[in-house]
């Protein structure tokens, strides 16, 4: 069992856990993920490593409630425990001195982009961050990301804070402004990563996205997570999750994420009934 040392409710529906997992903490690197299973009957789900404390032996995850597992996780409190916490999985994000790196984060992904922005900064890159949320009340860690960035732009879909609109607006302006951008990292909902990739493509700027197909083992054993990149089939859990956004077959990713829509709904309804009984 892996103990939850700390829980923070960041904004409605998005929570942070600090989990005791010394061996994982020792090895974690930016861009890697863990596979979590709550208990014997639970599903295995992937969650990005948002931070780690090698001395303290803990790993931080930030997750959004979207279905049964994440909703059940949200009910756990500090002092509780998770049955399985496997990692660090996937290849680390490629970090080097590129020059200027733009980090674009959508929604809860502000947490997952944080270690990447930090590592890019430490390598001596100029880091420009763009942070997008649906509205002000879903925005968190603006200050943290600002402290890791040379420049930070915030957008909200409804204009309740920062610039009104989505992240691709300022991204496009930045590229048009003549700022010499050497690399873009875009992490967030798949649709947002797709549109960031489409935005940077005409400018020929390499854009790395972190793909989130459905996974089971996370170690290359099942092929559930297969994605098509540059016309080749890849297993996102071992060949990624980072890929060149300009090469990704996005429609395939979207389609494969919908495989279990009916079952996910059934599972969620049955769980809600069991809670309310």
């Amino acid at each position: 069992m892996y103990k939850i040392l700390l829980k923070q409710d960041l904004v409605p529906g998005i929570h942070l856990f600090k989990v005791a997992a010394p061996a994982v903490a020792k090895k974690a690197q930016p861009g890697q993920f863990v596979v979590v299973r709550i208990d014997e009957k639970g599903e295995r789900i992937p969650l990005t490593i948002a931070d780690w404390d090698r001395e303290g032996g803990s790993v931080t995850i930030v997750f959004m409630e979207v279905g049964t597992t994440t909703a059940r996780l949200a009910l756990l409190e500090a002092g509780g425990a998770i049955a399985d916490f496997v990692g660090p999985l996937g290849l680390p994000t490629h970090i080097e001195k590129f020059g200027t790196v733009v980090c674009v984060a959508g929604g809860f992904a502000v947490a997952t982009i944080m270690p990447i922005a930090r590592a890019m900064r430490q390598k001596g890159n100029k880091v420009i961050s763009i942070l997008g949320a649906r509205s002000q009340d879903l925005l968190f860690w603006e200050d943290k990301l600002r402290s890791l960035s040379d420049q930070l732009i915030v957008t909200t879909d409804d204009g309740s804070y920062g610039r009104k609109g989505v992240v691709t607006g300022p991204l496009k302006e930045l590229l048009e402004s003549g700022e010499k951008v050497d690399r873009v990292i875009a992490i967030g909902p798949s649709i947002m990563m797709k549109f960031c990739s489409l935005t940077t493509e005409p400018f020929g700027i390499k854009t790395i996205v972190s793909l989130n197909p459905i996974m089971v083992d996370g170690t290359g054993m099942c092929g559930c997570c297969r994605v098509s990149v540059g016309g080749e089939t890849k297993f996102a859990c071992v060949d990624g999750p980072d890929f060149d956004g300009h090469q990704v077959d996005w429609d395939l990713l979207f389609a494969r994420q919908r495989i279990y829509l009916d079952e996910e709904k059934r599972s969620f309804e049955q769980w809600q009934r069991s809670v309310h009984r």
Binding site: A23, G42, T69, L89, T219, G220, M221, C222, R226, W271
Partner: protein, 466 residues
């Protein structure tokens, strides 16, 4: 003295009715009763030249344990079995006995070898029912050395058990959340109940072996880090768990599974009990399974049990070339699975939602024998036809996961990704590292993996004491 007359009537294995069993995940073969076991045991003529033993990769004293059954001395039968085989309940069920111990039994020539596997299973089941899960042995004298075993399939479990019995302190590192390897995630409940695998894993643990689950070696510690920190030797039993695909058009459509994914969802994650267990699996109505091995049979029979109306197995050669155990092919046929032999997929067809709706196939014919000695299948041009499906499972074989090899300095791999290791001892070219099982041979059998684990354990012991 006249020779006693040979009894050539093998006692048949009671099995669940095919109509019923196609709808449940309960074990198909029900096991012998004590009377049946004794009757079968009485057929053994206790040969001097023990052909049967020569056919068993772990060299069980087969006549010995059979005699004990005949004498009604079950604890003795248990003792004899367990002294060579830590996992008899598993081997008795899934060993391809017909090509091993039973093939070399003296009575095989007469077409009625002793049903050694069934008797072995009987003894293991008797032990679980009557002696509690684990029979403890006297603790060995500690040898003061520590060995890391990577992977908890049959190779790793066997190596760990033997090393522990020799007094070494052993830790198994397993990537998944349960131990057992393919026995847990691959072979279905109706052929090998998970409770039995768990009991045999518990037995290995009772010998003092430590189990570190959720531990992906190469991602957590690497092999070199294990050797540089706590361990004097490492055994790699990581299996051949990475699925292969055909690389034909349409393969990433929704509804197309690798057998590994399908079986993992069903067996390891218990998707057949969804939503009580939260991992879903698609229940196809018309399912095609591609392949001719045990894995294909298991996938087809799982799909049937989940509720498919129609399940086909597509295989590109003919029935005689099928690598699956005969018994499993017959079970599958009895349950109503339809075999489309000499058939090979050309492409998968999908709808606008990216769901698979059909599989276009070629008819095949057999040409000259190839490297494997089997006749090579050749496409009949212009023979394309389509089968309507809503689910496909590809059981085309697996290869080793490159994770350990790619994170370890100084291991040698073949072009199939398997590790190079001495056939007798399992020693790799890297200092202090041994390997065995599917990681060395490519996908093979439970018992050959166990044999490899056993030989490596002996060699590791010799090295540690050397």
């Amino acid at each position: 003295m006249a020779k006693p007359k040979l009894n050539l009537n093998r006692v048949p294995m009671p099995r669940q009715d095919p109509k019923k069993r196609g709808k449940n995940f309960n074990e198909v073969a029900l096991g012998y009763s004590l009377e049946q076991a004794k009757e079968e045991a009485s057929r053994c003529i206790q040969c001097k030249k023990r052909g049967c033993v020569a056919g068993c990769p772990v060299e069980i004293d087969i006549p010995g344990f059979i005699k004990a059954i005949g004498d009604g001395d079950m604890p003795e039968a248990v003792r004899i079995l367990k002294s060579k085989n830590a996992l008899p309940g598993i081997c008795g069920r899934v060993c391809p006995q017909e090509t091993q111990c039973e093939a070399t039994c003296s009575l095989a020539k007469k077409g009625a070898p002793i049903a050694i596997g069934r008797l072995e299973r009987f003894v293991a089941d008797w032990e679980r029912a009557n002696m509690g899960a684990a029979t403890s042995i006297d603790p060995p004298k500690p040898a003061g050395k520590r060995v890391a075993v990577v992977g908890s399939g049959p190779a790793g479990l066997t190596a760990a058990a033997d090393l522990a019995k020799l007094g070494h302190s052993v830790t198994i590192f397993e990537a998944l959340h349960v131990a057992g390897g393919v026995l847990m995630y691959g072979i279905p409940e109706f052929r090998l109940p998970k409770e039995i695998v768990q009991a045999e894993v518990d037995y290995v643990a009772s010998l003092g072996v430590k189990l570190e689950l959720d531990a992906v070696v190469g991602k957590l510690a690497t092999v070199d880090e294990l050797l540089n920190s706590d361990y004097h030797a490492v055994f790699l039993g990581t299996g051949a768990g990475a699925p292969m695909f055909m690389n034909i058009p349409g393969e990433n459509l929704n509804g197309i599974y690798s057998a590994n994914e399908f079986l993992t969802r069903v067996n390891l994650m218990k998707a057949y009990r969804f939503p009580e267990y939260d991992t879903p699996v698609k229940v196809g109505r018309r399912v095609v399974v591609i392949g001719g091995g045990n894995v294909a049979m298991d996938s087809a029979r799982c799909a049937l049990r989940l509720g498919a109306d129609k399940v086909y197995i597509i295989y590109r050669r003919s029935e005689v070339e099928m690598p699956a155990r005969r018994e499993e092919v017959e079970n599958a046929m009895e349950e109503g699975i339809e075999f489309r032999l000499l058939t090979n997929p050309k492409q998968m067809l999908g709808d606008e939602q990216n769901w698979v709706v059909g599989i276009e196939c070629y008819e095949m014919e057999l040409g000259e024998p190839d490297d494997s000695g089997r006749r090579r299948p050749i496409v009949k041009e212009g023979s394309e036809f389509t089968i309507d499906v809503d689910m496909v499972v590809e059981a085309l074989g697996t290869r080793p996961n490159p994770l350990v090899a790619s994170t370890t300095e100084g291991l040698e791999t073949t072009r199939w990704g398997t590790l190079v290791a001495d056939e007798e001892t399992g020693k790799t070219v890297k200092d202090k590292v041994w390997a065995g099982g599917d990681i060395v041979t490519g996908a093979a059998t439970v018992i050959s993996a166990m044999g490899a684990g056993k030989h490596a354990a002996a060699d590791i012991d010799a090295y540690l004491r050397g």
